[in-house]
C-alpha cells in the first residue's frame, strides 16, 4: 500500500518496492542493489533476476548526466494541464563498490555498471540549458493531494 501516491497519475497501488515512496517522503530518491551479486536496479526491485536472491539493499541515486529527452506538448488523459513537461533519461555511474566478501560468478565486475533513471526535468531549467550531457541530480517533489514524485535538477 502507499504506492498509489507515486507520480502525477498512478496505475499501480502495490509493489514489493513500495519503500521507494517512503523514501521519497523522506526526501530521498533510491535505487536497489543485490547484496549477493551486486546487480543494480532502476526501476528498483527486490527480487534479483541474476542470482535469484532476495537480499536487496537500497542506495541513494547520486549525480548523473542527461542522455536524452523530449518535451511533451500534447499530454495524455490526466496530464492535459501539465504540459509542457520534459521527460528525460539520466545516466548514473553507480560508483558503489560490490561487497568484497560476497563475490558472485554471475557478476564478475568489481563495481556495478551504470544505470539509467527515467523521469522529468525540473521546469525551472531554461530551454536553452537543456543539452545532452547536462549534469543533473535527482530530487524529490511533493505534488498536490499528498502525491510524491521526483525530478532532475541542475547540479
Amino acid at each position: 500500500m502507499g504506492f498509489e501516491r507515486f507520480g502525477v497519475v498512478s496505475f499501480a497501488s502495490e509493489t514489493l518496492a513500495s519503500d521507494f515512496v517512503t523514501y521519497l517522503d523522506e526526501g530521498k530518491v533510491m535505487a536497489t542493489k543485490c547484496r549477493t551479486c551486486g546487480e543494480v536496479y532502476f526501476p528498483p526491485r527486490t527480487q534479483c533476476t541474476i542470482c535469484f536472491s532476495a537480499n536487496i539493499e537500497w542506495f541513494s541515486v547520486g549525480q548523473g548526466k542527461l542522455v536524452t529527452y523530449t518535451t511533451v506538448m500534447y499530454g495524455p488523459l490526466g496530464f492535459e494541464n501539465d504540459t509542457p513537461y520534459t521527460l528525460a533519461l539520466v545516466e548514473f555511474s553507480s560508483g558503489i563498490p560490490v561487497k568484497d566478501e560476497l563475490p558472485c560468478a554471475a557478476h564478475s565486475v568489481s563495481s556495478p555498471p551504470g544505470y539509467k533513471v527515467f523521469g522529468r526535468l525540473d521546469k525551472a531549467i531554461a530551454k536553452d540549458d537543456i543539452k545532452i550531457g547536462l549534469a543533473l541530480k535527482a530530487a524529490t517533489v511533493k505534488l498536490a493531494d499528498d502525491r510524491v514524485s521526483y525530478e532532475f535538477r541542475k547540479v
Binding site: S10, T15, T68, T70, T71, P76, L87, F118, I132
Partner: protein, 384 residues
Amino acid sequence: MEKDVAIVGVGQSAFVRSCGMTTRELCYEGFAEAMLSVNLQPNQIDASIICSAPEYDKQRSPAGVIAEYLGLIPQPTFYVESVCSSSSTGLRVAYSLIKSGLYKTIAVVGFQKMSELSSREAMERMGRGADVVWESPFGLTMPAGYATYATAHMNAFGTEQKHMAMVREKNSGYGMLNDKAVYRKKLSVEDVLNSEMISYPLKKFDCCANADGSSCIIVASKDVASKITQKPVWIMGLGAANDTTSMSGRKMLTGLKAAKDAAGVAYKMAGVGPEDIDVAEVHDCFTISEILAYEDLGFAKPGEGIKLLEDKETYLGGKIPVNVDGGLLSKGHPIGATGGSQVRTIFRQLRGEASDIQVDGAKIGLVHNIGGTGIYGNVTILGV
C-alpha cells in the same frame, strides 16, 4: 530457400479514421478480401489467430466473437498481442503451427478499432504500453518515447528535423496512390516543419494517425499452398526479439535494439543479407522510426540513414524502395492490423501485382514491424 510455409492470400480493409462498423464487421472486410482472392471457404481454414492490442474496444476475448462472425466455427481460435506488431506475432505463431504439422491452413486476422476513443484517451492507452508502474506516471506517450530516440539520434549524428520531414514527404507521395490509406495528401518538408509540436522534436506530421482497420494473411503448408495458388509467397526468415519496456533499461538509444536483433535472426534464417532485399515495409509510426529502421536493418550504417533519403535510394527506382505503399504515416496505424497490411504490400510486390508502386523484378521482400517504443522487434523476410 526453404519452401515449407507459404502465404497464399492477403487482404485488408480500408484504413479510415472512423469505420462505422463493429470490430467483427471490420475484421470481415480484410478476411473476405483474402478469402475471395484464393477462392476458399471458411471450412477450409484449419484455425484462426486473432491479433490486436487490448483496451481499444470493450469486447473481452475478441477471438471467439470474431471467429464466429467469420464462419470459422468449430475450428480453434485464439488471441495474440504484441501491441503494434500483433499481426506479425500472429504470423510467427501461424508459421510454427503449420511447420509442426498441426494445421495446414491458418487465417491470421489483425484488427484495431481506435475510433471508439478520443485522441487523448488513445494517447493514454498507448502510453500504458510503456511501464505503467514506473514510467507512465510521468506522462510518457508513444510520440514521447520515439522522440527520446530522435533527440539521441540528432545529438549523435547531426540528424535534423528536416531529415525526419523528408520521410513524410516521401511516404505521403506514395500514400496518394493507395486507395486504402487514410491520408492521401502530399506533404512537403515545409508542411511537416510548420506543423504543431507534439513532443519535441516530433511535430504533428512526423506522427502517424490513429485509424480503424483490419488485415488478413492466409498461411498454408507447402502441399496445400500449391493447390490453392500457383504463386505462393514463401516465408524465408522470421526474426523476433524483445527489449526492456522501461526506457531506463535501454542500452541503445540511437536505434531500436529489438529491431536490430530481430533482423539478425531473420537474415540468418533466410540466408540473405540487407543487400539482397528488393523492397521493404518498415514501421514508420513516426518519421524518425523509418530512419532508425534503415540503420537497424543494415540498409545504412548507423548515422547514415539520412543519406539514403537524400540520395532518394528508398524511393521507387532507388537501391532499396521502402514504404512505397505510403507507410503507416499515410495508411494510418490501426495497431493490430498494421503488420498484416505490411505483409499484404510485400506479397503483392513479390507477385508483381503492385501496379503503380511495383518494384520491378522484386523477388525478396522484408517487413519490419515494431511493438511499443521498440519493445517487440519483428522482422519477416518473404520470397518467391
